[in-house]
């Protein structure tokens, strides 16, 4: 379309440039602050030319917050959530879309409801479950009278105990237990033509074969998109890891940032804090940049 709009074009460029600066400035500022020494970082205004203490600051932040093992924890945690989501959601969506079984609608809605209530608002009881993941089942046994029955019969008191605090499953499983991915897959599965199922039936493939030979390979794009957003989402989790990991060796990188906040009245080591921030935000930033296409697609598909 031919349009002569020189002024509008100028405004466009100006607005977008301001937007770009606002979006990038914090990254740049953090990166520069991370290169200064203690004196320079506290100067007002802070010198915008990089200093020479970058490596030192990184090393200090690394050791002070114990970032090495915590980054590994984060990686396992976020990777675990991503894989768990990808697998469990695919299974569930497959069941909902390709089968007709009694209670299917109930299942659909009970999964749907989980979209509504994020972990943060039911944090206290979820924590109690993580402390003893078999607690719900013990309670069911108690209420239904099976516990007392077994005790009367065998003299053994059933006491199911299995704590997930300070463990990877404890970090990962509650975050897998929501519906985001299920609906992403469902939308995609519904676009697969019916004839594909029928062709597979004619070829003699049953439901399990069809899932692994046809459905999963065709879902590659969705898997990539879902894995990307779930990895980012899990990596960026804060409250849950903070609660579940009471021992520092199990903590994640994001929660470790808290130990880098300069204390009121203490030494304002902002250079170290910013170096730590940089290390923690870098992995997700790289994922966003490399996986941009999947990231955007996954967000839009899973929320709609």
């Amino acid at each position: 379309m031919i349009e002569r709009t020189p002024i509008l074009n100028l405004v466009t460029q100006l607005v977008l440039f301001v937007g770009l600066v606002v979006a990038l400035a914090p990254f740049v500022f953090v990166a520069i602050a991370a290169t200064h020494d203690l004196r320079d970082v506290n100067l007002v205004p802070m010198p915008l030319l990089p200093g020479h203490n970058f490596i030192d600051n990184l090393a200090t932040a690394w050791h002070r917050a114990g970032l090495g093992p915590k980054l590994v924890n984060s990686l396992i945690f976020a990777g675990g959530v991503a894989i768990g989501k990808v697998v469990v959601s695919a299974f569930t969506a497959y069941a909902i879309v390709f089968f007709r079984f009694p209670g299917r609608q109930l299942l659909f809605w009970s999964i749907f409801v989980t979209l509504m209530l994020p972990l943060e608002v039911r944090i206290v009881p979820t924590y109690a479950v993580a402390a003893n993941v078999l607690g719900p089942y013990q309670a069911i046994l108690d209420i239904t009278g099976i516990t007392s029955l077994v005790e009367a019969l065998s003299g053994i008191r059933l006491d199911l105990q299995f704590g997930l605090l300070n463990s990877y499953p404890g970090l990962i499983l509650p975050l897998v237990a929501t519906a985001t991915g299920t609906f992403l897959y469902r939308q995609f599965f519904l676009t697969l033509p019916d004839e594909l199922v029928e062709a597979a039936k004619m070829d003699g493939a049953g439901p399990i074969r069809f899932f692994f030979d046809i459905v999963l390979p065709l879902s590659r794009n969705n898997i990539a998109a879902l894995a990307t957003i779930m990895f980012l989402w899990a990596w960026n989790q804060y409250l849950w890891p903070l609660l579940v990991t009471t021992e520092p060796e199990h903590a994640t990188a994001v929660t470790a940032l808290k130990s880098l906040i300069p204390n009121e009245g203490g030494i304002p080591e902002w250079n170290v804090a910013m170096a730590g921030t940089l290390i923690v935000m870098l992995p997700t930033l790289i994922v966003v940049i490399v996986m941009q296409r999947w990231f955007v697609r996954g967000l839009i598909a899973s929320e709609k």
């Binding site: 033509p193 004839e195 594909l196 029928e198 062709a199 039936k201 004619m202 070829d203 003699g204 493939a205 074969r209 030979d213 046809i214 390979p217 065709l218 590659r220």
Partner: protein
């Protein structure tokens, strides 16, 4: 090779019947075309034979074995789908060989059989490609290959040519028939295209509203349509059908007073009947016999098709079409003279739509 028999096969969704008790015996090696307008239940019928739809009542037997409760894979049928339903992420070779892989056939044998099928269909150079990289005709061939490789006793085709362009459709039609003759399997082919039906079929099953209108050879279907519907559905342009009443002395009288003699007509006077005659059966212009009863068609407009012209006009109170071979001259102003040869007339009961056997009495 297997014979197929349907006995009172019916299907309904909830309380809506889509296929009414159908009986059909298909001989081993026969090529049957199920023909009908969209929504007549022809695809449903095919899918019931394949085992993709459960039947509500009746019995289906393939090769003498009742298959009502057998899964598709246990029935020994192969199917070519309308949109081919190729697996988009697999190569042509994997698509063709998938059924063998599922059946656990060893890789070496699988490859050998894939190559054999690919050679037969001219797909040899395309085996490494994916469906998205193929043309419509090539995809169609892959779909055929996928059906062929299992060496099935029965081939089922669900409008496999409808997504191809006109030229390719003619070519693939010939190939499908050749393939059928070579493999000797029983074939059931669903289509809404009468030309496909006429050229491919040993016998045609005309389906309308979930009921069988007529089963017969293409020749019989064309020359002795069993009902008003079949008469209108088969043939292009459609048969002229004139609604009138039986008059005195073996005639049919129309609302505008036109009277046409139908020798040997033996029906109570006043009965509502439909007189049918195909546009190409009329004797027109200079070919109209001098001794016959000559009619005149007032011409509204003319479609020139090349070998013949279709002349549209009004006759006996109805829209009327005559096919005029190109060597016969006529002018729009003068209109068209024609006669109706008695042996090409068809008569139908207007109430039931069924054929009235004037020709049977004549023969």
């Amino acid at each position: 090779m297997a014979e197929i028999s349907l006995r009172h096969v019916a299907k309904s969704y909830g309380r809506t019947p889509v296929v009414h008790a159908i009986d059909l015996e298909v001989a081993a090696g026969e090529f049957i075309v199920i023909l009908g307008p969209s929504g007549c239940g022809k695809s449903t019928l095919l899918r019931m034979i394949a085992g993709l739809e459960a039947i509500t009542a009746g019995e289906i037997a393939i090769g003498g074995r009742v298959v009502n409760d057998l899964e598709p894979r246990e029935r020994g049928c192969a199917m070519v789908f309308q949109n081919y339903a190729l697996y988009p992420h697999m190569t042509v070779a994997d698509n063709i060989g998938y059924a063998l892989k599922v059946a656990g056939v060893a890789k070496a044998e699988r490859l050998a059989r894939i190559e054999k099928v690919a050679d037969a269909l001219g797909l040899r150079d395309l085996l490494g490609r994916r469906p998205a990289q193929l043309s419509g005709g090539q995809r169609q061939r892959v779909a055929m290959g996928r059906a062929m490789i299992r060496e099935p006793a029965v081939f089922l085709f669900d409008e496999p040519l409808s997504n191809l362009d006109a030229e390719l459709r003619v070519r693939m039609r010939v190939e499908i028939r050749k393939l059928h003759d070579r493999l000797g399997a029983t074939s059931i082919f669903v289509t809404h295209d009468q030309v496909e039906a006429m050229t491919l079929a040993d016998r045609i099953v005309v389906l309308h509203g979930g009921r069988v209108e007529q089963i017969g050879t293409p020749y019989a279907i064309y020359h002795q349509p069993a009902s008003h519907f079949v008469a209108g559905f088969i043939g292009s342009p459609a048969m002229n059908r004139l609604d009138g009443r039986v008059g005195p002395a073996a005639t049919v009288v129309f609302a505008d007073g036109t009277t046409i003699a139908v020798p040997d007509l033996d029906l109570p006077e006043g009965q509502a009947v439909t007189l049918g005659i195909r546009p190409e059966d009329l004797r027109v212009g200079s070919e109209a016999p001098e001794d016959g009863i000559r009619h005149r068609l007032a011409i509204d407009f003319v479609e020139h098709l090349g070998p013949a012209a279709l002349v549209h006009g009004r006759f006996a109170g109805h829209d009327f079409v005559a096919s005029v071979p190109r060597h016969i001259a006529f002018t729009v102003v003068e209109g068209l003279t024609f006669t109706m040869p008695v042996e090409t007339m068809h008569l139908f009961d207007s109430t039931t739509g069924r054929r009235i056997g004037i020709d049977a009495a004549r023969e």
